[in-house]
Amino acid sequence: MPYALCFLLFMLGLYCAVVKKNMVKIVIGIMVMEYAVNLFLVMLGFRVGGIAPIIDRAQYDPVMQQVAAGFVNNSVDPLPQALVLTSIVISLGSLALMISICVRTYEKYGTFDITQIRRLKG
């Protein structure tokens, strides 16, 4: 069920990016799609009743000089979280690029409507 809701969120973003004529709304739709994918990836590593994948004093065995045995069986998967953190950084960069393209286009044409922007030559 949560995966279906993720898919629904992705489809909402896709609808917004494809149908809308305003450039800023297209950017918002693309960002909603990215966040849907991030949410899906984080939920792949989720575990009901799991603990955060951070090794602190409670998860450390001082006698054995290593992580306690139950840590791996109890914690959620940290790999999708690290992947999503990288994805958030990249989506921040692409968001800045898209917004600056929108600003420059508005500076040149005076509108955000993509059907009005027709002199895209050279």
Binding site: Y60, L85, A96, I99, V103, R104, Y106, E107
Partner: protein, 148 residues
Amino acid sequence: MKGMTIIVKTVSSWVKMLIVLFGIYIILFGHLTPGGGFAGGVILASSYLLIMLAFGREFVQKDLPLALDSKLDCLGALLFAMIAVLGLVLFDKIFFSNFLYLPGKEFELISAGTIPFSNIAIGLKVGASLFLVIFLLSTFRRETSANK
């Protein structure tokens, strides 16, 4: 832009040091607690964003000029690459390998080899470049309204 009212200026001049300290804490303790270079850098950039909103762009331009900000950005990337390449050159001949074996215990501040230094470099890079992005986007808006 002259900035906002005296209330906003006073409160933000009190709060900005707390935000900067919190960002430095997040960066320095990135190997122990949640957070790290990226989150701390975003917090540092947000403190300068607060000053920019409260005092106006000229004040921030005097405090942190664009050339210095760009240099800090490049310095962060250079430091991170240098830490990576030093691991390749020194002991292990492995990219990003640890070359600092400091006397420290687990879960203390000095405990993770080169990872805190990588966090500092990433925090510098992210803070400078994110503030540069926000500042330049606001500059675009200014020029547009000045043309009309």
